[in-house]
């Protein structure tokens, strides 16, 4: 009985804390805190928004979400074992991404019309995995180094995919369909 009362009191206290500022409470919760390296999480909702990200070092992570139209993202990571996760939903969104180093990864998707992404990776063992859904989307990938991988999946009409690799032991996979 004592345990039950204690538990109820704890739950009341917890719910009061959460009710005090629900918006800030959820806002302050970071999705993931890396043990080493830095982490950036940027969410934008609306039109004409812009993200400019620069990360330098090892084990950096960036997560970008842009929802609506005519948004732009300029992303640059320099170092090793860096990761970018990207999601854009809407029309006429644009991404320029640059990664320089080893074991860098860029993964993400664009959903909507007339979106475009230009990516450039310099170094070895880098990975790009990107998906586009909608009409008039375009992707351009350039990888320079050894053992880089690029995987592109596009669904819709009027699509453009351009992948250029300079080096050896590299892999490209492009899948375009309706």
């Amino acid at each position: 009985m004592k345990k039950l009362v204690t538990m109820i009191l704890l739950l009341i206290g917890l719910s009061q804390q959460l009710m005090a500022s629900p918006e800030l409470a959820s806002f302050n919760e970071l999705d993931a805190i890396p043990v080493t390296g830095n982490y950036a999480d940027i969410n934008q909702q609306g039109m004409d928004n812009n993200v400019n990200l620069r990360q330098q070092g090892q084990h950096q992570q960036a997560k970008i979400n842009q929802i609506d139209s005519m948004n732009t993202a300029e992303l640059a990571q320099v170092g090793r074992d860096n990761q970018i996760a990207l999601l854009q939903q809407g029309q006429m969104n644009q991404v320029n991404a640059f990664q320089d180093g080893r074991h860098n990864q860029l993964q993400g998707s664009q959903m909507g019309k007339d979106n475009s992404i230009n990516t450039r990776q310099l170094g070895n063992d880098n990975l790009i995995h990107f998906q586009q859904q909608g009409q008039g989307n375009a992707i351009s990938i350039e990888q320079t180094g050894q053992a880089n991988q690029a995987s592109v999946s596009q669904t819709g009409r009027g699509l453009t995919a351009s992948v250029q690799q300079n080096g050896s032991m590299q892999n490209i996979a492009i899948n375009q369909g309706f």
């Binding site: 800030l24 806002f27 302050n28 970071l30 805190i33 890396p34 043990v35 080493t36 390296g37 830095n38 982490y39 950036a40 999480d41 940027i42 969410n43 934008q44 909702q45 609306g46 039109m47 004409d48 928004n49 812009n50 993200v51 400019n52 990200l53 620069r54 990360q55 330098q56 070092g57 950096q60 960036a62």
Partner: protein, 220 residues
Amino acid sequence: MTSLNKITLAALLVISSASVYAGDNQDANIKQTGDSNWSFAAQGGSRNDLDVTQEGSRNGAIAQQSGTDNKVDIKSVGYGNQAQSYQSGSRNDASLKQTGSSNLASNFQSGVNNATDIKQTGDRNMANTGQMGRANDTTITQEGYGNAAFGYQEGTLNENDVKQEGSINYSGTSQHGTANHADTLQQGLLNSSAICQSGESNAAHVAQSGRGNMSQVIQY
């Protein structure tokens, strides 16, 4: 009475009593109504409490505390008011609330487990904070148009939270050290956020909604 005399009198009254407040469990209250008033207060020791309330325009309050578990609370209502607080030590709290326009709130803390809470409601207000040490926490909330928040933190496990609602607001956060967190939330039009972090295991979180917003994050 001229404004200079008012400043001098307030300074004499409070500063002269500051030595009296150098101790533990002391309370000081200042209330000023009107224009161009200034107050200065200093407390040293532990568990001291300082409350300042100002109503009017172009008023200023300066508070200084050193020690442990001290608290300063400055409230101002009106136009062109300034609130400044300086705290050193551990577990100190500063709360600065301003309602009106063209107000300035500044707070500087050094030590461990200090907390700053700044709330500004109105237009063209500015908040400026600096914290050095460990496990310090800054929260800045601004509602209105053309407001600016600047936060600087140096050390470990510090947190800087900014929430701005309105248009053409700016938030700039600079953190240097290890495991620092920066959270910026902006709602409205043409807001901009810049976060610069150096060191290891720092995290930046930005959420913007509206149109024409800009976010810049630099980590190295």
